[in-house]
Amino acid sequence: METLLFLVDGRTPNQLRPLTCSRNVLNRIHGSASWSQGDTKVVAAIYGPKSGTKKGENLEKACIEVIWKPKTGQSGKPEKEYEMILRRTLQSICLLNIHPNTTTSVIVRVVNDDDALLPCAINASCAALVDVGIPLNHLAVAICCGVVESGFVILDPSKIEEQKMKAFVHLVFPNSVLSVLPEESLHVGDEAKEHGLISSVTHGRMSVDDYLHCLERGRAASAKLSAFLRKNLQSQVPSNT
């Protein structure tokens, strides 16, 4: 029997922190978006596509480079790790063969860090990619799940809650799509396509059951995030007179 657990700010474990997203926040940049979950806020700016790829990159495809700028201090190893994870995630959602031999630069600037930084950055970068107009095969929504000692899973923990957890995992899922095709064709095997996983980064030790439990919670939350992102993108579609 699960006892009711309330988090520090009064949320239930299944509730996400308040989300805000705005696109086209920076004037001179080709595309930008800011995303905040609770107190964590990240701004992503995108330049591109620009001609030419970096040395050693595949000329048949577009190249994505990510620069992560922390709130204070110099970029170090954690920033390099974030850059690599973000780059791999964005490469899997972009259609890279539409603009071959080009480079798109994604610059992520942390405005405030209250944990769940990587999911916030992924969400912001995805919204910024839509703002620039880079062709995507689907959107990505990211969520952070934490596991406490008793095996209980909490969604979207803040820094205070993170200290009490034994492990947490960042999950990135594809968004839920509208389709004219019948439901079955969207399934791969037995699973619905939107239940696929794009990225998963874990910190700390957790059992396999805890991980699967996190995946389940994460998927449920990704549906809500998808709906939020869709509504946000639709409201900024200019209406033609």
Binding site: I98, V132, N137
Partner: protein, 263 residues
């Protein structure tokens, strides 16, 4: 009349933005998605039921096995009999054939000018691509010259090519634009300004002040008028008009001119 000519081109251009022409089997009409906002990943057309129909896809859509999916966020549009595209507004431009754009010269080579048209790659403008152009009378464009040009080749992976004359070889207003003021905006605003019938912001401004305007489908707009204050008024009014409806644009223009008279 100038608006008419450009708007005709604009209507042709939108559907010419097919990256591929496809002959596919088509099926039940996806009427549920037409004129709706779509996001990347949405599947809007099922091709297994269409039979012996040709569908033309414009920007923002691509073929994924037996279905057509969306790759840019925007509004799905349909034009009879068989053209689908996603209308969206960006700050950058994707070059398409037969678009009229405003480019800025960044370099000149022996046989080409390199022109920036806000796309992924620099465009080439051959030095002979002018009316009556020969090796003897090559125009001398300095770096930074603003040109009104036409895109003739826009292939994936290659630099686009431009021409400074129309299909019959006449100059027809293409070429360098002197004086005036150029500002950058989004491709959506440029399409609205080039729409037919003439959009209400231009009609409203035309009633108050006389001016000359060149709109590039890549999001650049050039305005010229007798006095600098008129140029600034017209430019500011156009920049502010992007997300307003026809009536709101009219009201905004009236308030701009009232404020100006009060100064």
């Amino acid at each position: 009349m100038q608006h008419e000519k450009r708007s005709l081109t604009r209507n042709c251009t939108i559907w010419c933005r097919s990256q591929r022409h496809m002959e596919e089997k088509a099926s039940a009409s996806p009427a549920s998605f037409i004129s709706q906002a779509v996001v990347p990943g949405d599947v809007v057309l099922d091709l297994t039921n269409f039979s012996n129909h040709t569908i033309k896809l414009g920007g923002g859509l691509y073929q994924n096995c037996d279905a057509i999916s969306v790759m840019k966020s925007g509004e799905l549009k349909f034009s009879k009999p068989n053209k689908y595209w996603v209308e969206s507004s960006q700050k950058r431009y994707v070059p398409c054939v037969e678009d009229h754009v405003l480019g800025i010269v960044v370099d000149s080579r022996s046989d080409n000018f390199l022109v920036d048209i806000k796309g992924p790659a620099l465009a080439f403008l051959p030095v002979l691509a002018f009316e009556g152009g020969t090796r003897r009378n090559i125009p001398k464009f300095e770096v930074g010259t603003l040109l009104y040009v036409r895109v003739v080749k826009a292939n994936v992976g290659m630099n686009p090519e431009l021409l400074c004359m129309d299909a019959s070889g006449k100059a027809a207003e293409f070429g360098p634009l002197k004086d005036g003021y150029m500002f950058e905006s989004s491709t959506g605003l440029a399409q609205m300004l080039l729409g037919s019938p003439t959009c209400s912001i231009l009609v409203a401004l035309g009633k108050k002040v006389s001016f000359e305007i060149a709109v590039g489908l890549n999001g650049r707009v050039w305005v010229n008028a007798e006095s600098p204050s008129n140029i600034i008024l017209v430019s500011n009014a156009i920049m502010r008009s992007e997300n307003l409806s026809g009536v709101q644009q009219q009201i905004m223009v009236d308030s701009c001119f009232r404020e100006f008279k009060d100064l």
